[in-house]
């Protein structure tokens, strides 16, 4: 096992450390990504981005996350991360805390209601008295879905029961495990779901779309670095790695963050303001 560890360490050195020997002289940047999928998926999805970061900034970059949205929000607020990729409303929240805008993804965040294929629920109106599972009350999908259901007269604790799952993925499988009648998850996850599971479920409805993920920089990061990063990230899609990255993650690309975008997110940070 020790040999194996040594072998692995040597391989890692070859893969990661040797190309970045030039970066080794400076402390690494921490790049926190909000836990919108499992940690494995986070690593797998965003590894090319991290590598691009390092190449762009000529410094090592450590990708980290948090166990849940709340923790991520707290750590962001506490400044543990140098850079973050977070949900759009959380980006707005971070900006309010001093974070600097870098880029935002081209895709849009949209929730999707799914039920079991044999479910008798055919529309949102059929949800009265039903159990709806959603992930992370702080997530934008949760809030857009809650807002949409309110519009249909469905109030948590009143005529529906909202069960909070730890992740969107968990929430997606809740109907299959008979833990809920309806699950609300991200449309990106639904698309990545395996066909076998997909065949057992059916889409019920979708939430209104919301902006994609925001990449923000900690206030302690110099603007020059932020600018340089922004410049390179906007060009990331033009690289093979970037092309593959955006295809795999569904983020489609990066674009600068505009004020309207940020203003449109104001409603979704109310929950944090209420705390």
């Amino acid at each position: 096992m020790a040999d194996m560890s040594i072998f692995r360490m040597r391989w890692l050195l070859f893969i990661f450390i040797l190309p970045t020997t030039a970066l080794a002289n400076q402390p690494p940047y921490t790049f926190g990504i909000f836990p919108y999928v499992t940690t494995t998926q986070l690593i797998r999805f965003h590894k090319p981005l991290v590598e691009y970061f390092e190449a762009s900034l000529q410094r090592p970059v450590i990708l980290i996350t948090a166990p849940d949205f709340t923790t991520f929000v707290n750590r962001t607020r506490e400044g543990e991360y140098d850079f973050i990729m977070t949900a759009p409303h959380l980006g707005l929240l971070a900006e309010k805390q001093g974070y600097k805008r870098v880029v935002m993804s081209l895709h849009t965040v949209q929730g999707i209601y799914v039920v079991r294929k044999d479910s008798k629920i055919m529309s949102l109106d059929d949800l009265q008295g039903k159990v709806v599972t959603m992930a992370a009350r702080e997530a934008i999908i949760f809030q857009t879905a809650e807002h949409q259901m309110k519009q249909h007269g469905l109030i948590d604790g009143k005529n529906i029961t909202i069960d909070v799952a730890r992740t969107h993925n968990n929430a997606m499988f809740a109907p299959l495990r008979n833990e809920a009648d309806v699950a609300v998850t991200g449309i990106l996850l639904w698309r990545k779901l395996g066909q076998a599971n997909k065949d057992q479920m059916r889409e019920l409805a979708r939430t209104p779309p919301s902006p994609g993920f925001l990449v923000m920089a900690n206030p302690r990061i110099p603007d020059s670095v932020v600018d340089k990063l922004r410049y390179t990230l906007l060009d990331f899609k033009n690289t093979p790695q970037g092309e593959n990255y955006f295809r795999v993650t569904g983020l489609k690309g990066f674009k600068p963050i505009t004020d309207p975008t940020m203003e449109g997110l104001e409603p979704y940070i109310k929950i944090y303001n209420d705390k």
Binding site: M1, A2, S5, L12, T40, L42, I43, R44, I64, P67
Partner: protein, 828 residues
């Protein structure tokens, strides 16, 4: 000698068998345990490795995501749960973030001094913790590192438990094997030990011991064979002991013999090196056996020729090489280490083994030193005179004979001197034999310087000397003789404050080719000497063969041969003459003097006694004659039946007889054997002989008188000191010298002398006898003087027939019994 190191491994078969078997078993068990230990370690390593391989993914799966999420609480929960799980067996867990900082830890570990990662399982045995490090990755991306310690104590306990069990099993097996092997060894080797015990007893000498093994296996057959062998050994040992005893006995005998014998015995090996010498040889060579053993015999024995004193070979190696003994070698002189000389006779013999191979030699050294010294002494004594140490008569005659032969062969000329001392008898008679002997010694010393070493000076007997002058003529001999004569004439002999002068008469004879033999030369020299004496003594007379004066001397020599013949062939007869008491009323017993006469058988006549006595005295024949007289007188008296027992028979004894050592005992034995009353015997001794041998004569008279015999002193008055010696001689009779008696009638002095002698005799209680009573006038005067007996022609003439007749008639001598005078002097 090096001390033998004690063997730590006992010399016992069963012990060796058990020990060897146990050793092999222990070795194999040790190997088995070692292999088990190795397998256990290997298995333990595999288990640990497997466990690590199982734990690492678990940790990776459980921690990497939490680490990626920076979920410290979840990580600590995972750590605590793992550490609290006995199945996990983890001692500590430390999680490092991607920056290498400790993110979380649990268990007993100091993160500041983290133990080194164990590169192999064996390293974990030091602290019983298998220290492992592993990367934490998500999708291949390292998110941190985890260090954990896998406790292997349980493995070690398990391994030690198995090992202890194995050791216990092995110990039990060894113990069981020990017992079983001990029993097997005992039963297998029991008979061997019986064999061993038996061999030890046999080795210690109990050859008759039998091995009591009854089994039929190989040991049993071996025991049977061993018993047979022991029996054979016993028989041979017994035979050997008998041989040894016999050999020892023989050896003791030989050694005792060799030690006891006076001859030196030396044995050598074949190279001549000494193997043994006996005590006698040790004394001879001066070395002990220990000193010479192994030494070459040449180095201890040096021999020289006895005559030339040249070194000679001891011949040992010659004898060894030739194999021929030298039974009696030449006489040699041995000089030992102390330079002592020994005259030896050596014998050397080779020693052979049973294959007839020479293996050494034995040398016998016969010490003849004393023998040769004695021989030389005896030769000297035989050839020399004991008094003067001059050559004696026999040697003188032998040498003279040789020289006579040389003269005949080589024409050499020698001269013989015959010397006879004058007046020697006076010295001898007056001062005794001691003075005479001393005179002779001193005369010898006077003569020696004048005689060459090559010449011969000898004492021929009495006062006679002889000289042989070699390669000398008569004139030179006369000069030498004159020197001798003058030297002796000038010599004054002093004895007890009295001075004596003597002379010497010398006869000179030249030894020429004409002298036929030694006797004729000596006879001539004797006669020349006699002539010198007759010519007035103290002079030299040269013998000439035509000189007639030597005839008479020749007659004496002839007479001596006749005397010898008479003694051998009974040529003597005894005559008797009566000695008659003079007084008519005398009660004295009758006496008869027995007189010797020699018969000339050729002419049938008696030889005059003075001729016989002169020759007999000169040639030392008187003792034999006296013995003949005594024997025949006793025989006659014994056989005479008419003897009354009162008669006294007088027998004359010469001075030569009295000086002989055995004469007294012979006479006494004869008297005892004859059973004749000794009182009837009277022995007559002349005064001259008595005085000359006073001590011997006194002893003789005393012994004979103790026996009962009587003694008469003959010719009393003829000597100068007669009266003085009379007191010392216990005689019964004195016979007054006939010279006084014969002139008694016409010479008053002789009468006075006879009266004096008679008076002295009366005073001393001695009976007196007058001899030479030739007529009646003398007889009358004797009667008047008072002499007791008369003897002579006037009384009785000696006769061979009268002896028996006279005895027969008995009684005092009467005139009618007087026979006719015979003009023959009595013997003695």
């Amino acid at each position: 000698m090096t001390r033998q190191q004690p063997n730590p491994f006992p010399h016992k078969l069963r012990v060796r068998l058990v020990a060897l078997s146990l050793g092999i078993e222990m070795l194999m068990l040790g190997l088995l345990l070692a292999n088990s230990l190795r397998l256990l370690n290997q298995a333990m390593e595999e288990v640990a490795t497997t466990q690590v391989e199982e734990v690492v993914p678990l940790l990776d799966a459980s921690l990497s995501s939490r680490l990626f999420e920076q979920d410290h609480a979840a990580i600590m929960e995972i750590i605590n749960r793992l550490l609290n799980s006995p199945e996990a067996g983890l001692a500590y867990i430390v999680v490092y973030d991607s920056l290498g900082d400790v993110y979380a830890k649990g268990g007993n570990v100091n993160v500041q001094q983290m133990p080194n990662v164990d590169m192999q399982f064996g390293d974990a045995l030091n602290d019983s913790i298998y220290d492992v490090a592993a990367e934490l990755k998500l999708e291949g991306v390292p998110v941190g590192k985890v260090r954990f310690g896998l406790s292997v104590r349980s493995f070690l306990r398990y391994r030690n438990s198995i090992l202890n069990q194995g050791l216990m099993i092995a110990s039990g097996e060894i113990l069981l094997s020990f017992l079983l092997l001990g029993l097997i060894g005992y039963f297998l080797t029991r008979h061997i030990y019986e064999l061993l015990t038996a061999t030890q007893r046999i080795t210690s000498g109990e050859y008759s011991h039998k091995i009591p093994v009854q089994s039929r296996d190989e040991i049993g057959r071996l025991a049977d064979n061993f018993n047979q062998m022991a029996q054979a050994v016993n028989d041979r040992v017994r035979a050997l002991r008998e041989s040894e005893h016999a050999l020892f006995t023989e050896k003791e005998k030989v050694e005792v013999t060799l030690s006891a014998i006076a001859d030196g015995v030396i044995t050598t090996d074949i190279s001549g090196r000494v193997e043994y010498i006996n005590p006698a040889a040790e004394n001879l060579v001066g070395f002990s056996l220990e000193e010479v053993k192994g030494e070459h015999i040449e180095s201890i024995i040096r021999m020289f020729d006895e005559n030339t004193f040249e070194p000679i070979n001891n011949m040992v190696l010659d004898v060894i090489s030739s194999g021929q003994p030298i039974l009696k070698g030449d006489s040699a002189v041995l000089i030992n280490r102390y330079h002592d000389e020994f005259s030896i006779e050596k014998s050397i013999a080779p020693i052979f083994d049973h294959n007839k191979n020479c293996i050494g030699s034995v040398m016998v050294l016969h010490d003849v030193t004393n023998t040769r010294q004695l021989t030389r002494q005896m030769i000297f004594q035989a050839t020399h005179d004991s008094l003067t140490e001059l050559v004696n008569r026999r040697e003188f005659e032998a040498r003279l004979s040789n020289y006579i032969d040389e003269v005949k062969q080589n024409g050499r000329r020698h001269v013989v001197l015959y010397l006879d001392l004058d007046q020697f008898k006076i010295v001898n008679d007056t001062s005794g034999h001691l003075a005479g002997d001393e005179l002779l010694r001193q005369v010898s010393l006077i003569m020696k310087p004048h005689i060459r070493g090559s010449d011969v000076l000898a004492r021929l007997g009495g006062d006679e000397f002889g000289v042989i002058l070699l390669d000398c003529d008569v004139d030179h001999a006369i000069r030498v003789g004159e020197i001798l004569r003058k030297s002796i004439e000038d010599f004054v002999f002093v004895w007890q404050k009295q001075n004596y002068r003597i002379g010497v008469s010398i006869g000179v004879v030249e030894v020429t080719e004409d002298n036929s033999d030694m006797n004729s030369v000596l006879s001539a020299a004797d006669m020349a000497c006699y002539a010198a004496k007759e010519n007035g003594r103290n002079q030299i007379h040269v013998y000439h063969f035509e000189d007639k004066s030597h005839e008479r001397k020749k007659d004496e020599m002839y007479m001596s041969s006749l005397i010898k013949q008479a003694l051998e062939k009974d040529g003597f007869v005894l005559h008797a003459q009566r000695i008659v008491p003079i007084a008519a009323d005398s009660d004295l017993p009758e006496m008869y003097e027995l007189l010797l006469r020699m018969v000339d058988k050729e002419n049938n006549e008696l030889i005059p006694p003075q001729v016989v006595i002169s020759s007999a005295e000169r040639y030392q024949l008187m003792p034999n004659i006296d013995r003949w007289v005594v024997a025949n007188a006793l025989n006659c008296i014994q056989t005479c039946q008419k003897i009354t027992g009162n008669e006294i028979f007088a027998i004359n004894l010469s001075g030569q007889s009295l000086g002989q050592r055995d004469f007294l005992s012979d006479i006494m034995d004869s008297i005892v054997s004859s059973k004749i009353n000794p009182a009837q015997l009277c022995f007559e001794i002349t005064e001259t002989h008595a005085i000359g041998n006073l001590t011997a004569v006194t002893r003789f008279i005393t012994r004979m008188k103790d026996m009962g015999c009587r003694f008469s002193l003959d010719d009393f008055g003829s000597g100068l000191s007669s009266f003085a010696y009379l007191q010392n001689l216990p005689v019964d009779y004195i016979k007054i010298d006939g010279g006084f008696v014969r002139r008694l009638v016409e010479n008053p002095i002789d009468r006075k002398l006879v009266e004096s002698i008679n008076n002295i005799g009366k005073v001393m209680g001695i009976t007196t006898i007058a001899e030479y009573v030739e007529n009646e006038e003398i007889l009358a005067i004797l009667h008047e003087i008072g002499v007791d007996y008369a003897q002579g022609f006037a009384v009785h003439r000696p006769s061979p027939d009268v002896f028996t007749e006279l005895v027969k008639s008995g009684g005092p001598l009467g005139a009618e019994n007087v026979p006719k005078p015979e003009n023959v002097p009595k013997l003695a």
